[in-house]
Amino acid sequence: MSASIAMAAPRAAAPRSYWAGVRRRLGRDRVTLVCGGVLLLMLIAIISAPYIAPHLPFQGSMIRRLKPIGFPGYPLGTDELGRDMLTRLIYGGRLSWIIGITPVAIAFFVGGLLGVTAGFVGGGVNMLIMRVTDVFYAFPSVLLAVAISGALGSGVSNAILALTLVFIPPIIRVSESVTTGVRSLDYVEAARSSGASALTIVRVHVLPNVLGPIFVYATGLISVSMILASGLSFLGLGTKPPEPEWGLMLNTLRAAIYTQPVVSVLPGVCIFITSICFNLLSDGLRSAMDVRA
């Protein structure tokens, strides 16, 4: 009985509520809208790569190597094996986005689960989870990523695994601290004293209040993750050639900085734009959702 009342409470909220406010604030924030738009365009481009790319990503030509931007038929020039840059940049976004975003998404679920558990249960469980987290915190993130994927060997799934392990500890820390904050609030106490079970309290009172901050924090990590993901490929640890990926393309084009400097830095421009857009989008979300972190 009391549980059903507790469950009904959040659904009875007025329509012009928190989320309406968030949407209104986002609508006014021009920087965030532009960044969201750029990312959406990129996403559409990399999903529909086979339909919009002018050439095939693996088709090279020995006589058309390292052509400049604006070369007839090749709007962004060609790479060191004569493959069309524009095509490979569009296709390259696929792996870069997958290796960049998947780790944060997995870490959001795993780290969120562990962090909320630690914060809500407290005591020995909290101690155990947080002390293990401290150990991984003792490694600088780049070093941890390089160490794990260096030991596992190159490959997309190893890179994703390594980055996931890098991002779980910070998400655990954030989820634990927001959950601990929410747990001691009056409405949780009220629900508990009215007889709601632990699971109900978590589902109805804790999760809706902690997921927002954790989500915003996780979106902020995507920017770092994209840079690290391409960085691993740049070191030869992520993707293997001839697969197009921005970091790997940057690596193979490094030898061409003397002959075709502008073309050789293009993959980095893509990483930069993606990373900065995710960063600003996360900042915009944070202020629109009024999260302090």
């Binding site: 991984f136 070093l143 160490a147 740049f234 900085i257 900065i276």
Partner: protein
């Protein structure tokens, strides 16, 4: 205070032990039998068994860990698979180079970040603030290995002002305090300093803006204190948190310089790591990561203690 010091130092011991455990496990998460990382694949079976015994790989994992830890504590980090040489001499000279690069880059980032952060906080909401924050966001979002390439293209390839590679004119890796050596440091340090600069700018802006909003600042202004006087109070209050941010950044730079060192062929730990990865030289990988992580643990400890010494309000366990 002494009790706090002791407790904080003691707390670092289990962390250091767990960190070495993680490093130890690196060899064992590598795919396949760890023995394959030590002997070539075409070695005869009896040689493999002999090596397995001599490395203690036939013993249970906890025993192996204890043996390995004993070697590490006495300064024996093992031998490189690729060269057969002791790891420590090569690693120590690489560490000096990485530390040099990290300290210079961190100082540049710290000074730049503090200036930009204070500027932004003093003119909060104006175009100055927006410009400083813009620089900070760009600094943390830029893939630094790419920035390194761009700087090489501009200053080495196009303008021919600065060298693109190495740490000295003779390529020996040794360092000297003359322009011939220092000019090799400019581009890597510049590349590496943008991340701490961005992070410090954001942090300092937040810290200073919050202090400027507090009542005691209004009081100070009310009693007629001029700008430099107020600034002194702000700096005193902002220093502990700013120091904490900065100390960690130095550690991140030590660990994170691998990409930049690769771009500039800087003979530091990152370069060593990169070679170790390419040659699948797991002992070198393990030793380098262990030493860097331990450095980070000690640095964390130092920052905490320093922070407490400056600001007695903090007595965290």
């Amino acid at each position: 205070m002494l009790l706090y010091l002791l407790r904080r130092v003691l707390y670092a011991v289990p962390i250091a032990l767990s960190v070495s455990l993680v490093c130890f496990m690196l060899v064992h998460i590598a795919p396949g039998d760890p023995i394959n990382a030590i002997v070539p694949p075409d070695a005869p079976a009896d040689v493999v068994e002999q090596v397995r015994k001599s490395y203690g790989l036939d013993k249970p994992l906890p025993v192996q860990f204890a043996i390995w830890l004993g070697h590490v504590v006495t300064g024996d980090l093992g031998r490189s698979l690729a060269t057969g040489r002791q790891i420590w001499p090569d690693l120590s000279s690489a560490l000096v180079n990485t530390l040099l690069l990290a300290v210079v880059a961190a100082s540049m980032g710290f000074v730049g970040g503090c200036l930009l952060g204070c500027l932004a906080a003093s003119f909060i909401g104006t175009w100055v603030d927006r410009a400083a924050v813009g620089v900070a966001v760009a600094g943390v979002s830029v893939p630094h290995y790419w920035l390194g390439m761009v700087l090489v293209i501009v200053f080495s390839v196009t303008l021919n002002w600065l060298p693109a590679m190495g740490s000295g004119p003779d390529g020996s890796g040794a360092f000297g305090l003359d322009w011939a050596h220092l000019r090799h440091l400019v581009l890597p340090a510049l590349t590496l300093c943008v991340i701490p600069m961005g992070i410090v700018t954001r942090a300092v802006r937040g810290i200073v803006a919050e202090i400027l909003n507090q009542d005691f600042i209004t009081t100070l202004r009310g009693k007629g204190l001029r700008r430099p006087g107020v600034l002194l109070h702000v700096v005193k209050n902002a220093a502990p948190n700013t120091l904490a941010v900065m100390g960690l950044q130095l550690g991140y730079l030590m660990g994170g310089s691998i990409l930049v060192e690769t771009v500039f062929s800087w003979p530091g730990t990152g370069f060593l790591l990169n070679n170790a990865i390419f040659q699948r030289d797991i002992p070198v990988l393990q030793a380098t990561i262990l030493v860097l992580a331990m450095f980070f643990v000690v640095l964390n400890l130092g920052v905490d203690l320093l922070q407490t010494a400056i600001d007695p309000r903090i007595r965290r366990a």
